[in-house]
């Protein structure tokens, strides 16, 4: 085969490859995503049933607290040394109980707040007296490892006001979340970065 003819064929194949890549990208780039419009991306009106166009803001991982079964893998499977999953406390759902099922072991012998009675392995739950008999519980995120032990306790004995969420100041947003791949209850899903939390108890801070 002469060099000229080979170059000609090569040009055709190269053109075809370029067109193919462009075609794939165009087809995928135009595709609408499956999330319903929440009006936050600014590209469409709120409450319209239209689907948001892909692009602009990306997608991030989040835990659906309704599906989470507190298996403990969030603490062990995150690619970060200390998991990006942290316990979140919905104050509006909390009963402010003295004996808190998330704070203390279920077999706590006395009503002391001594370390031996605490459920959290890293003592990340802070307890503050408000007024008799109510206490406020706060999560120290620097200490929280996302093990979900308190979440389990709170779900069992309390209101379920403690729950796990991926904290996006920590999450590196992997292409495939290592925890999501290991999650036994399918609680992880992608959510739009403009609305990156699946909060319990209604609006963000209520």
């Amino acid at each position: 085969m002469s060099g000229k003819r080979r170059d000609f064929l090569k040009n055709i194949v190269r053109g075809g490859a370029l067109a193919g890549i462009a075609g794939i990208c165009a087809a995928l780039g135009m595709r609408k995503n499956k999330y319903q419009c929440n009006g936050q991306c600014g590209d469409c009106k709120p409450d319209s049933s239209a689907e948001c166009p892909m692009g602009g803001d990306g997608y991030v991982w989040q835990i659906d607290p309704e599906k989470c079964t507190q298996c403990g893998r969030c603490a062990t499977h995150c690619v970060l040394a200390i998991s990006a999953v942290k316990c979140v406390h919905s104050y509006s759902m909390c009963g402010y109980c003295d004996l808190c099922g998330g704070y203390q072991r279920s077999d706590a012998k006395g009503r002391t707040t001594g370390a031996e009675n605490q459920l959290c392995p890293t003592a990340a739950i802070r307890r503050k007296f408000i007024e008799d008999p109510y206490y406020q519980y706060t999560i120290d995120e620097d200490l929280c490892v996302g093990c979900g032990l308190c979440v389990k306790g709170c779900e069992m004995f309390g209101n379920g006001s403690l729950y796990l969420q991926v904290k996006h100041d920590l999450c590196v947003n992997c292409n495939e979340c290592a925890i999501a791949a290991a999650c036994p209850s399918g609680a992880f899903r992608r959510v739009p970065a403009s609305d990156p939390y699946l909060l319990k108890g209604g609006s963000a801070n209520a």
């Binding site: 090569k10 190269r14 890549i21 892909m54 759902m93 003295d98 406020q136 004995f157 996006h168 970065a193």
Partner: protein, 443 residues
């Protein structure tokens, strides 16, 4: 939620502690617990409604930091500018030092600043997921990261590998004492990335996850933390990389397969010599990647006709290889399907039911707690397995096709009058440039 509090207010309890003890007490009796649960759900959503505080207490706000998206736009800008710079350094300036500095920059930016995660190598899976499943959207950034290096390879060769890919960059840094791998070994091992690519595609097509991301050996270093096996594999690869330059790029990288094909068609490609090769042989040992092709000898190596006959035979062999690949791929159904979590869970549950295991796993416990009947899980697993049977055949056929084409490529002898880079495997790293004594002609 507010509404619930209002309705519950009429039945205020006298303190969390008392109710909590009541729960503990009720735990002793399942019936009591059931009664308690029902009564709660009947009156309100919460067991212990939020108290009304006499002291005027107001609860603190929960901080929910938003994800940082500021870098995403920059990533595309940095990718396109580093690719352009790499092409200029390789083709116009022919300067190894500049290429190396750009590689260092890419290692720092895409590696350590961006934690190795927006990466062209992994983007193949997102694009594949979009192609296999019409409900999956692919962000524009990911599409650009997939397409730009391939388009640059079609035009200028693998300049992405040379100076942009952080995985290549980290290996480039440790390639201190490269030894020559026998070309035959190199050729045989070059099928491994194709198999890896095929497996990754099967994994995406069946919804088993992103293998390439899961087994990315160097991302643990970029993030400064990973599981021990991951760091061990990455460390061993880097150690190997001291002697065998770029082991991941050459013998594993699935995206490199696509770049290899694209680069073979490249419009302009890095050349060893800026002008005419004088066959001085000085560059021959400069390439640590076996990517320099020697000039062919003057004498015709074989009689006319032998080559054509061999080519004909190999062309007949290609469909045979595809058929064999399809058969083997179909047999891989069972081992392959175990990478899908549902199939793995179904096998675990079945094994536990048969008493094969003495313990349960988190997965099997969670499944049992979900009250899904076993039969439903088994049905799903069987369905997924049949997907694997189909995808496994495609995978086998693909591998057969690639092996066939590789054999044909090896058998075709092209005349070369000088030392040339192998356009497919050359990473355009520029090491050979300074070995060439020929100076650029002034035009």
């Amino acid at each position: 939620m507010r509404k619930i509090f209002m309705t519950a207010k009429t039945q205020r309890h006298k303190g969390g502690a008392f109710s909590f003890l009541r729960v503990f007490a009720s735990l002793r009796s399942i019936t009591l617990l059931l009664w308690f649960g029902f009564s709660v759900s009947a009156q309100a959503e919460f067991r212990f409604p939020m108290p009304e505080f006499a002291s005027g207490y107001e609860h603190p706000l929960v901080v929910m930091p938003a994800p940082s998206t500021a870098m995403v736009g920059w990533d595309v800008v940095v990718l396109l500018s580093t690719l352009t710079l790499a092409a200029i350094f390789v083709l116009k300036r022919r300067n190894r030092r500049e290429i190396f500095l750009l590689t260092l920059f890419s290692l720092i930016y895409f590696g350590f600043v961006r934690n190795g995660c927006i990466c062209s190598v992994g983007s193949v899976q997102n694009v594949a997921a979009g192609l296999f499943d019409s409900s999956v959207g692919v962000p524009v950034t990911v599409l650009i990261f997939f397409a730009a290096p391939l388009i640059f390879a079609l035009l200028f060769g693998r300049v992405f590998c040379a100076a942009v890919c952080p995985l290549g960059a980290i290996q480039e840094m440790v390639a201190i004492k490269p030894v020559k791998v026998p070309p035959a070994v190199e050729k045989v091992l070059s099928i491994v990335p194709v198999i890896y690519l095929g497996l990754a595609m099967v994994s995406v097509a069946t919804g088993s996850g992103f293998l390439i991301c899961r087994y990315d050996p160097f991302v643990g270093f970029f993030r400064m933390g990973a599981s021990f096996p991951m760091l061990l594999v990455g460390g061993l690869l880097l150690l190997l990389g001291v002697f065998v330059a770029r082991p991941y790029c050459r013998f594993l990288c699935p995206y490199g397969v696509l770049l290899n094909w694209a680069s073979k068609l490249s419009r302009r490609h890095a050349t060893i010599t800026p002008s005419e090769c004088i066959q001085c042989n000085l560059c021959a040992d400069s390439c640590p990647y076996n990517a320099i092709l020697e000039p062919t000898s003057e004498k015709a190596p074989e009689a006319r006709g032998t080559g054509a006959r061999r080519l004909g035979k190999l062309m007949l062999l290609v469909p045979v290889l595809i058929v064999i690949g399809t058969g083997v791929g179909g047999l891989l159904k069972d081992p392959l399907s175990r990478m899908h979590p549902t199939v793995a869970l179904a096998e675990r549950i079945a094994g536990e039911e048969l008493g094969r295991y003495s313990t349960t796993t988190i997965d099997s416990e969670t499944f049992r707690a979900s009250d899904t009947p076993n039969e439903k899980l088994f049905e799903q697993a069987v369905e997924i397995k049949s997907d694997f049977a189909v995808d496994g055949r495609w995978f086998g056929a693909f591998i057969g096709l690639v092996i066939g084409f590789k054999l044909i490529a090896v058998s075709i002898l092209r005349k070369r009058t000088g030392y040339e880079p192998d356009k497919g495997t050359c990473y355009s790293c520029g090491r050979c440039f300074k070995y060439c004594p020929v100076k650029e002609e002034k035009t």
